[in-house]
């Protein structure tokens, strides 16, 4: 029957995209493990993986350096993409994202302040940093929401977000001025954004925070679909709008805070990846977009990280530099296309 064909086509497309993303993910993971200053052949890599850890340098590199780094890039890339998608659902606008709305910079500010002023008194475990970043994210989200009640135009809200981001960066810089040499080194390194130098502890923290948040986000896909039609329609279908909006903003902030705390601010992934995902799926259905965006974000960040650490090796690029180069043009194209369509 005609409708079954249509249903199959939708599901078929989703399966196809998921398979493609999985294939890319596996390639990305393998390449990330093998490539670097010490290059491993596929056979050497397979041997190492089969035999588990041993005392060799190669084993150390693969298990203690590349593997946590790669897993972190995958988890955080996926988390960032989903965080962006949640914000876009919240504002019903595809150009919202944690970076452009200044939310990442807010997280960075609080993490920076924590690093400088609390470094002596408490241990800066990844979990503590995530908490600090979460506080910063929520703070700036609250500011942006306050403005969003006055400013109905999304483009204008973006300008507000970017300005708020600058203010946060200025405060961070000010804090740096008063920091000790040692703190500055740490902070500089972190604040530019990188997946390097992170151990398994960061990976576990990222996984423990992202996994429940992602599942919770996916469970919100039904009201998210209804909310795409606006508050009034969502309410009329039985969505409890206020708790739903709160859940959306908390989850989005938590995911982006996790990323900022563990890897520093990473730009444009939150907008570009969901956009690419929607385009590939030809659908905005949250139940399909969320898992696909997670995979796409993971793949995107793995490849960006690969580029960051290999292109000018041994010098490493910031991860943000690479994601900007690939992400920002996507965002520009999107805005231009939207304008053109709106003008019709």
């Amino acid at each position: 029957m005609e409708k079954d064909k249509a249903v199959r086509r939708g599901i078929g497309r989703f399966s196809l995209v998921i398979c493609l993303l999985f294939a890319l993910l596996i390639i990305a993971l393998a390449v990330n493990l093998a490539v670097g200053s010490v290059r491993l052949s596929p056979n050497e890599l397979l041997d190492l993986l089969k035999n588990g850890r041993n005392a060799s340098t190669e084993s150390l590199i693969v298990f203690n350096i590349r593997m946590p780094r790669m897993l972190l890039a995958a988890i955080l890339g996926g988390a960032l993409a989903v965080s962006g998608f949640l914000l876009q659902s919240f504002f019903r606008n595809p150009i919202a994202g944690p970076f452009v709305l200044g939310i990442s910079s807010g997280a960075k500010m609080i993490v920076g302040i924590t690093m400088i002023f609390l470094a002596g008194s408490i241990s800066l475990s990844p979990a503590v940093l995530v908490c600090a970043a979460f506080v910063g994210s929520l703070l700036i989200t609250a500011v942006v929401l306050l403005f969003s009640q006055k400013v109905r135009n999304m483009e204008l809200l973006l300008v507000v977000g970017i300005m708020v981001g600058y203010i946060c960066s200025a405060v961070t810089d000010m804090a740096v001025t008063f920091a000790s040499e040692q703190d500055i080194v740490n902070l500089k390194y972190w604040s530019m954004g990188t997946f390097s130098g992170k151990g398994w502890e960061s990976v576990v923290t990222a996984a423990l925070i992202s996994a429940p948040a992602l599942i919770a986000a996916w469970l919100l896909s039904k009201p998210m679909g209804a909310y795409a039609l606006g508050e009034g329609y969502a309410k009329s279908m039985g969505v409890a709008v206020k708790p739903f909006r709160l859940a959306l903003i908390l989850l989005s902030s938590l995911l982006s805070a996790c990323v900022t705390a563990l890897a520093g601010p990473i730009s444009f992934v939150g907008i570009a990846v969901p956009h690419i995902t929607r385009t590939m799926l030809k659908s905005s259905k949250p139940a399909l977009v969320i898992p696909a965006a997670f995979l796409a974000g993971a793949v995107f960040c793995l490849f960006c990280d690969l580029i960051a650490r290999t292109v000018f090796s041994p010098t490493e690029l910031n991860i943000g530099t690479v994601t900007s180069i690939f992400g920002a043009p996507v965002v520009i194209l999107m805005m231009v296309n939207r304008r053109r369509r709106a003008g019709q």
């Binding site: 409708k3 996916w218 606006g230 279908m237 929607r278």
Partner: protein, 365 residues
């Protein structure tokens, strides 16, 4: 028969401030109630309260015997659906997916559509005649198509009550009439109860079983279109000062040219309407006659002419009226022959024409 929909001493407004009070509506199943009234009169506020988007300030609303404000959100969603004025632009949604969202109160926690849900969606698509648009992207549709799809989404909730806020805004005459015919069909054939607001009073009167006029702090009138439009003239409801409205035909005339009549129009049988409207446009005050009271020209002359000589229907024109018309002609600068044929009953008009010709008053258009 108990009423399907009822409000009792309902007061509505925002933030605890009452805008309109003492709203008492009684509407049977399968009936269409339309709210009319000037912009900003609070039609939307009433509809939003009925749709439970706004809390009632006082009073109660019952739907099918249920107290609306004591039902769960899900129960309400199964009982009533809405078409709102806010324009939606969901990106990358096919028509089928969008209508599928209407199954919200029936689907499981992740919103998966079952075979039954899909059947319901198909039925709704067919009902509003958008089946062949099912796989199109919603944003690529025309306004008329969009409004049908939005209606289909509401119908997918399988409601018994439809609440529509200005569903014909943005639509051209073809789509307006199609949409209203569709609502009539749903009401008559499917027993759907409909409450909506419209700006087009003429269409409201034709499509509705009941009208509710919203003006000021209370309900100005409530009843059948005939009762309402006779008890409360549209001119009064909308404070129409520069124009007039004919409730039977729903036709609007612009402001009457004021002053001493300068032209006399000899009219009848509808020939006078274009002449009188063109004089109105040129803002020339005029008199018209001699018209029988059942002549369509007489209705327009009553709204546009400074003075109209009207004769009783089905009788030859009396000498008294002839004299009155003659007097008016002699005071005018000119006479226009609208082209009305002169027959046995209106032979007086023939005499007036002859008189005008003799005095050199007759103008050739």
């Amino acid at each position: 028969m108990t009423a399907f929909f009822k409000t009792n001493g309902l007061s509505v407004g925002y933030n605890g401030k009452t805008l309109i009070r003492d709203i008492d509506i009684v509407l049977n199943k399968g009936g269409i109630l339309t709210l009319i009234g000037p912009n900003g009169s609070g039609k939307s506020t009433i509809l939003k309260t009925i749709a439970r988007q706004l809390a009632a300030i006082r009073g109660s609303v019952t739907v099918d015997g249920w107290e609306l404000f004591k039902m769960s959100a899900k129960e309400v969603a199964k009982k009533q659906a809405v078409v709102l004025t806010e324009r939606i632009r969901p990106e990358l949604y096919t028509v089928r997916d969008l209508v599928g969202l209407g199954r919200y109160p029936y689907t499981n926690i992740v919103g998966r559509l079952t075979d039954e849900d899909r059947r319901a969606v198909d039925e709704c698509l067919a009902l509003v005649h958008v089946k062949d648009l099912a796989e199109r992207d919603f944003t690529t549709l025309s306004d008329g198509q969009k409004q049908r799809v939005i209606l289909a989404r509401a119908l997918a909730q399988q409601p018994e009550l439809l609440v529509l806020d200005e569903p014909t805004a943005y639509l051209d005459i073809k789509h307006k009439t199609e949409l209203l015919s569709l609502l009539r069909f749903l009401a008559r054939e499917r027993g759907m109860t409909v409450i909506m607001s419209l700006h087009e009073i003429d269409l409201a009167a034709k499509a509705s079983d009941l009208l509710l006029c919203v003006k000021g702090e209370t309900i100005a009138a409530f009843g059948t279109p005939d009762e309402v439009l006779r008890s409360l003239p549209v001119e009064e409801l909308y404070e129409l000062e520069k124009g007039s409205y004919d409730p039977d035909f729903g036709s609007v005339e612009l402001e009457k040219p004021d002053g001493k009549p300068r032209v006399f129009v000899i009219a009848g049988a509808g020939h006078g309407i274009p002449v009188m409207r063109s004089l109105q446009r040129e803002r020339v005050p005029f008199a018209a006659g001699i018209l029988f009271e059942n002549d369509i020209d007489a209705r327009v002359a009553a709204k546009l002419a400074e003075e109209a000589v009207i004769a009783p229907a089905f009788e030859p024109i009396s000498e008294k009226l002839y004299e009155k018309a003659k007097q008016l002609i002699l005071e005018c600068e000119g006479v226009i022959d609208a082209g009305t044929p002169v027959g046995t009953f209106n032979e007086a008009n023939g005499r007036l024409l002859a008189l005008a010709a003799e005095k050199g008053l007759l103008k050739n258009e």
